[in-house]
């Protein structure tokens, strides 16, 4: 009898979020990443601070390029983006914790999503830049649906590389993932040499890959393939210094 009302009232109300919002806005700098935890509180967080989160930031590849991260959380939860980081400031207002994390951000020298207009495609499939659901999360990614056993090659000629190429791949669209259970594969070649290959299954979500690279321009090719139809292979990659 006592625990039910107590548990029902355990989530902070809008007044608490209002105070947390004030804290974030007071210290916010353009380009800061704002994340919410637990994930199910995300709509409430966006209700209060969504104007500071551009769509592309919400649909980010990952958080590595952000040097300042605000974590607004309830119920002692933490966002995966802040794992392993120590907050430089931490305040709690009526059950809403506001923490600021800073770190050395990854320096992105090129992003294949920006370079897509210059890409050359070979094979039966057309790459398009989408805001897709992959693993129930939003991701801005390049999507290809290759025909079964007919790989599609997307080459970025003269892409500026740093010391590392980091990317992610996954299968978009929950319904085609449900109806067809086969995985999709993405292989990456730099200058004709394969440097990575990753297979994303229907329950794998947004799968990371990386490869060391030599700084400077190079032809980078992404080869999307699948044995089954309707594999909406969606990927993103950044060349980092």
């Amino acid at each position: 009898m006592c625990s039910t009302p107590q548990k029902a009232a355990s989530v902070p109300r809008d007044e608490a979020w209002d105070k947390a919002e004030e804290l974030v806005r007071a210290g916010y700098q353009p380009g800061d990443l704002i994340v919410f935890a637990p994930a199910w509180a995300d709509p409430v967080g966006r209700l209060h601070l969504g104007d500071l989160i551009p769509v592309d930031m919400a649909a980010r590849m990952d958080a590595a390029r952000y040097g300042r991260i605000w974590e607004v959380s309830i119920r002692d939860a933490h966002a995966p983006e802040t794992a392993g980081l120590t907050p430089v400031s931490s305040r709690e207002v009526s059950g809403v914790a506001v923490r600021l994390f800073t770190r050395q951000p990854a320096v992105v020298v090129s992003d294949i999503r920006d370079a897509l207009p210059t890409a050359k495609t070979q094979g039966p499939g057309y790459p398009s830049l989408e805001l897709a659901e992959v693993g129930f999360e939003p991701h801005r990614c390049i999507q290809i649906t290759p025909s079964p056993n007919s790989p599609v090659r997307v080459t970025f000629p003269g892409l500026t590389l740093g010391s590392q190429l980091v990317g992610y791949v996954g299968l978009a669209d929950v319904f085609t993932r449900r109806d067809i259970r086969a995985p999709g594969t993405l292989a990456i070649e730099i200058g004709g040499t394969q440097v990575a290959s990753v297979t994303a299954g229907v329950d794998d979500g947004w799968v990371k890959f990386s490869a060391p690279t030599t700084p400077g321009p190079a032809d980078v090719t992404f080869i999307a393939s699948a044995r089954a139809p309707q594999r909406l292979i969606c990927f993103a990659a950044e060349a980092r210094r």
Binding site: T4, P5, K7, A8, V11, W40, G50, V202
Partner: protein, 554 residues
């Protein structure tokens, strides 16, 4: 005894009132809309038949009851409850005007909820006693998820009632009466309620084998209450056929079509323990864990006590009504209802609603266990203080029973009207359920909660996704002004819309992203919450991202 029976009727009446009052706040489930249409057609057909407006023809039956499975006139679900809904709508909304259309369609389900409480009360009263019966009935009434489903014009709560009605009728008919027709007819109506009924023979059959064997070994298997079996086998299917004209034209083909639809049903997306399940194999423990999280903790604790007590009494050969073994019957009934969900291949869409026929067993066990605990307290009180034994027992049972019922009532009050988002205190309530990654809701019901907010916005089309089937009904019922029409399906609908809603289920996250893309913002204007857990988000198109309609009109 008469007074005690009046208490049962009073509890049943209270249940009908509670369900009817509660459902006033509950949104329209996607499936209900289909049943509204079918039910009106079914009732009209029967009224036309008995008033000689038309006869029985293959065409009229097909036009009314047939069509594609998963479409048409809803031939994938048998007609009993739908027919009642249609008559209820005709009488209470159209003729008498005492209910609005929605309440009228939903009223038969509320009546059946009352019937369930009554039957639980009567069976418990006959076998275990008055306080046990009252507590069992209260536990049945005070099930948050069941109370929610009992308010809908669907079949999940009615099948719980009809399933238990068959169990009750079977138990009664096992008394050796000459003409046990009741069990066959009730089983037939249960078959005509929902396909879960085909699992009942597993429970009844096994129970019959056990009691018949105990009564007379091999001879008992053949001759012990054989009329009950004949009633089930003959009158059951016959009743189904009588109430379902769709079977009159091609009985075997249409029964096959009905059952095949459910055997090969598409797997819905359903979140359970943080994972979105939409393909087998499903976890074997879904039914177990979900039940543990969706029945009030006090009811569960009392039920576990009661089940333990039944086992202990059986071992001591002190079971109630040993010839008919009702506790065994109730256990087998629950097992048959839950069993398929342990297989890993049965779809888990809809979660607990699909095994609700197990709940009467739990509630009766809770009544027995709760009262036993009360008696235990009384014995302790008598031992430590000079109190009259009878008084101590009455007070202790009253106190323990009140605690169990009030704890359950607290959960009920907390749960409504968004009971699909609610989880019990053991799970940590709705927020605990969200932390555990349990399903947030389904059927788009909670969209009703954002209608008052939408009604305050500038007129324009609304992207409604899962609430789309119900949207027209909200406007028809006057719950939402007609200046907020449904914008349409997915991408085109969003691009036409001025407002957009997302009903939060894990696999519906994609709707957020489609809206972000079109509206150019991730910031909603309203988030409906249940105990702090987001259930519906509303977006408003910013002026700088004009909708397709606005662009065209300019």
């Amino acid at each position: 005894m008469t007074r005690q029976r009046i208490v049962g009727w009073a509890l049943a009446l209270i249940t009908v009132i509670c369900v009817t009052v509660n459902e006033q706040e509950i949104g329209i489930a996607r499936d209900e809309v289909v049943y509204f249409g079918a039910s009106t057609k079914y009732a009209d057909w029967w009224m036309g038949l008995v008033t000689f407006k038309h006869g029985i023809s293959k065409k009229s039956i097909t036009d009314t009851f047939g069509g594609d499975y998963g479409g048409g006139n809803n031939p994938e679900h048998p007609p009993f409850v739908k027919t009642l809904m249609g008559f209820s709508h005709h009488v209470f909304a159209t003729k008498l005007g005492i209910f609005d259309e929605l309440t009228a369609y939903r009223f038969p389900s509320a009546l059946l909820a009352g019937l369930l409480v009554l039957l639980v009360y009567f069976m418990t009263l006959a076998l275990w006693g008055f306080p046990e019966a009252v507590l069992a009935a209260l536990c049945t009434l005070l099930l948050p998820r069941a109370l929610f489903h009992e308010g809908l014009a669907c079949f999940d709560a009615p099948i719980m009632t009809m399933w238990f009605a068959t169990v009750y009728a079977y138990w009664r008919c096992m008394d050796g009466r000459a003409w046990p027709w009741q069990v066959g007819v009730v089983f037939g109506l249960t078959l005509a309620t929902k396909h879960n009924a085909v699992l009942l023979p597993f429970a009844l059959g096994l129970h019959y084998v056990i009691v018949a064997w105990r009564a007379g070994k091999w001879r008992g298997l053949v001759l012990h209450r054989w009329r009950v079996l004949v009633s089930l086998v003959v009158l059951g299917p016959l009743t189904l056929v009588v109430v379902w004209p769709w079977l009159w034209t091609a009985p075997i083909e249409h029964v096959r079509g009905w059952l095949a639809f459910h055997m090969h049903h598409v797997h819905y997306n359903f979140e359970y323990l943080g994972h979105n399940w939409n393909a087998p194999r499903f976890p074997w423990h879904v039914a177990l864990v979900t039940t543990l999280f969706t029945v009030p903790v006090s009811t569960l604790a009392a039920a576990m006590t009661g089940i333990g007590l039944w086992i202990a009494r059986w071992r001591r050969r002190e079971s109630a009504d040993p010839d008919r073994a009702p506790a065994l019957l109730l256990g087998l009934s629950a097992a048959a209802s839950l069993g398929p969900f342990f297989l890993g291949s049965t779809p888990i869409f809809g979660a607990e609603k699909h095994w609700m026929p197990a709940l009467p067993t739990l509630c009766i066990a809770a009544g027995v266990g709760g009262v036993w605990a009360g008696r235990l307290v009384a014995r302790y009180a008598v031992a430590v203080r000079p109190v009259a034994e009878k008084t101590a027992e009455r007070v202790a049972i009253g106190v323990v029973g009140c605690f169990i019922a009030l704890a359950a009532a607290t959960e009920v009050v907390d749960a409504q009207p968004y009971a699909l988002t609610w989880y019990n205190a053991a799970a940590g309530g709705a927020p605990g359920g969200a932390d555990l990654g349990m399903n947030r809701q389904f059927w788009g019901v909670s969209a009703r909660g954002v209608l008052p907010f939408i009604a305050l916005q500038s007129p324009g089309p609304v992207y409604t996704h899962d609430a789309s089937p119900a949207w027209g009904w909200y406007m028809r019922l006057g719950i939402l002004p007609r200046i907020y029409p449904d914008a349409g399906h997915e991408g085109d609908g969003i691009s036409r819309s001025k407002l957009a809603i997302v009903i939060h289920e894990k696999h519906f996250n994609r709707h957020d992203y489609l809206i972000w893309k079109s509206y150019g913002t991730v910031r909603p204007v309203y988030v409906l919450r249940s105990d702090g857990v987001p259930i519906v988000t509303v977006y408003k198109r910013p002026p700088q991202f004009q909708s397709q309609t606005s662009s065209t009109s300019r």
